[in-house]
Each structure stands twice: as structure tokens, then as C-alpha cells.
Symmetry: C2
Subunit: 140 residues, 2 copies
DNA sequence: GCCTTTATTGAAAATGATTTTCAATTACAG
DNA sequence: CTGTAATTGAAAATCATTTTCAATAAAGGC
């Protein structure tokens, strides 16, 4: 259960440990797909029925600041959140069920230097996402 | 002046040619950076002071459907629009001034097959954006 | 040019997501 | 256990976008 580690990190930055935060953390930490604030709200409310949507927004903001979750941009929903990986990674998303997988080890240096030369830009960072169908969704 | 070509395309799909559309087209066609609907509104209003923001939204939607402009997602603004290139291309954005450059000729096939094998996903499409500083912004 | 038809327009209202305000509650240091 | 300051949820405010609607004007036929 990684949940305790997330809660410990929250606590170490001066946050108090509440039922509302625990519920949101449990939902985010155990989800393998990006969730919108309302989806987090619906899931977390089952653990803490008093929970308000406002608190979900506030907790997501805190978790993002701590680098425990990341914002996921998609053509439709740009406000969904997913647990973050460690270090530089990229996302692979299932177009059907939304499942998300992180991967690393891209080698784009050659591309960067070519584009840098052609355009005169100094390239600082990049953003790569792959879309497809996960194993389960391929057979349905 | 490519503006006329955009207007002709609009007309060929049954649209009427109005001052409002002409203003929005001129702004989008001549901008080298992504603009939000309000930015388009402010710029286009100088050509057609009567212009309403609603019409900007409606015209941007039409231009996007025709493939003349594309939506640009960034960490902050996910609702900005930029003229589209031809065929499969990627974006390079200046982090300072917002200038946008399209480029093509990425070779990511090796990466796709490796990630596909490791994850079991069938990879269908991808999304790549580079960020950096344009030549002008490097020297300031 | 002058009608007629019908798409287009902008103002205002409606919607939906997010943020702010605020008084009541509660975690937790002492 | 107590005092205090952080946290909470409800309600109100804000902001971007969409819908509604009556007035306007583009384009085609004359
Ligand atoms: Mn990378
Ligand atoms: Mn590509
Ligand atoms: Zn799937
Ligand atoms: Zn620049």
C-alpha cells in the first residue's frame, strides 16, 4: 500500500491528515487511468460520503505540486489527473478504455538536433504521448 | 495572400462570405503563434469593430473542421488555435514568445514497436511537441 | 438594381467547470 | 485535554463556452 507514503509526503509538507485527503489519495494512487476531478469525487465519495468537490480540487492541486500526480492532456479532456512516474517518462493511452501506461527510454536526440538546426530553436523539452489499444481492448 | 484561398474554401462548403469571417480568417492566417479565442477576438475586432466573440468561436469551429487550423495544447492554454500544416507534422513552440513552427520527418517507428512489445498495446497514433527558445528569444 | 430566401449575426441568457468566501469543524502541538 | 490554526463543505462568484432568438445581410433569381 503506497497510500501511506503519499500521506506521509503530504504530512511532511505541513498538511494535516484528514479523511477527505485520505479518500482522494487512495483513489488516485490505485487508478491506472486518468481521472477528471468529478470522477475522483464520485469514487472518493464512496469512502468518505461527506466529501465535497471543492476539497477534491484542493487536494489534487496539492498532489500535483508534490509531483505525485500529473495532469494528462487529451484531445477531449485536458483536466484529467494520473499518478506520476519517476523521472522522465512518457504516456501511452488506450483510446478505448483509457488505461494509461508510463514508459521511458525514448531516443529523440537525433531528431532534436536536426530540428534545432533547421529552425534555429534551442530545444529545451518535449512532450510525447502514444495512443493505441491495450491488450484487452484489442480482442473486443 | 493566402486569405483568399481560405475564404474560397469556406465558400465552397456553402458558407457565405461575411466581414466577420474575413476578419477572423485574416488574423488566423497571418499569425505565427497559437491564439486563444479572446486573442483572435481582440485582433479581429480591429478590422471589424462590430464583431462578436460568439462569431469568433463559430468561425474557429468551421476552420477547424476544414482542417485549416488546429487546436494547440499547452500546459496552460489548451484552447489555442494555430494554422494547420499539410500532412503529418509536429509542433515546435517557443516558451518565451509563443512562436510556433511545424516540422515533419520524425522517425519513431523503432520506439513504437519496442513500446508496443513491452506493453502489449497496438499503437495507433502519437503526439509530439517540442519546446524551446526561438532564435530571437535566445539573444534577449 | 430589387426582391426573396435563408444563413449569419451579436446581445443576452444559459450552462458548466472551477475558484472564492466564510462560518463551522477538526487535527494536532503543547 | 485544550487552544489554535488548518481544513472543510455549502453557497456564491467567476470565467469560458454554448444556446437562444430576433434583427440583419449575403447570394441567387429576376
Ligand atoms: Mn522523452
Ligand atoms: Mn510523428
Ligand atoms: Zn483499453
Ligand atoms: Zn521566441
Amino acid at each position: 500500500m503506497n497510500t501511506e507514503s503519499w500521506l506521509a509526503q503530504l504530512q511532511s509538507t505541513g498538511c494535516r491528515l484528514t479523511g477527505a485527503r485520505r479518500a482522494v489519495v487512495e483513489v488516485m494512487e490505485s487508478s491506472d487511468r486518468a481521472l477528471t476531478p468529478v470522477e475522483v469525487f464520485d469514487a472518493a465519495r464512496q469512502r468518505d460520503p461527506r466529501l465535497g468537490l471543492v476539497t477534491v480540487y484542493r487536494t489534487l492541486e496539492k498532489l500535483e505540486q508534490l509531483g505525485l500526480i500529473q495532469r494528462v492532456h487529451q484531445s477531449r479532456d485536458c483536466q484529467a489527473f494520473l499518478k506520476a512516474g519517476i523521472g522522465h517518462q512518457h504516456l501511452l493511452l488506450c483510446e478505448r478504455c483509457g488505461r494509461a501506461v508510463l514508459f521511458d527510454g525514448d531516443d529523440l536526440e537525433a531528431l532534436f538536433s536536426r530540428v534545432g538546426e533547421q529552425t534555429g530553436f534551442a530545444i529545451k523539452s518535449h512532450w510525447l504521448q502514444l495512443y493505441g489499444l491495450c491488450r484487452e481492448c484489442q480482442t473486443k
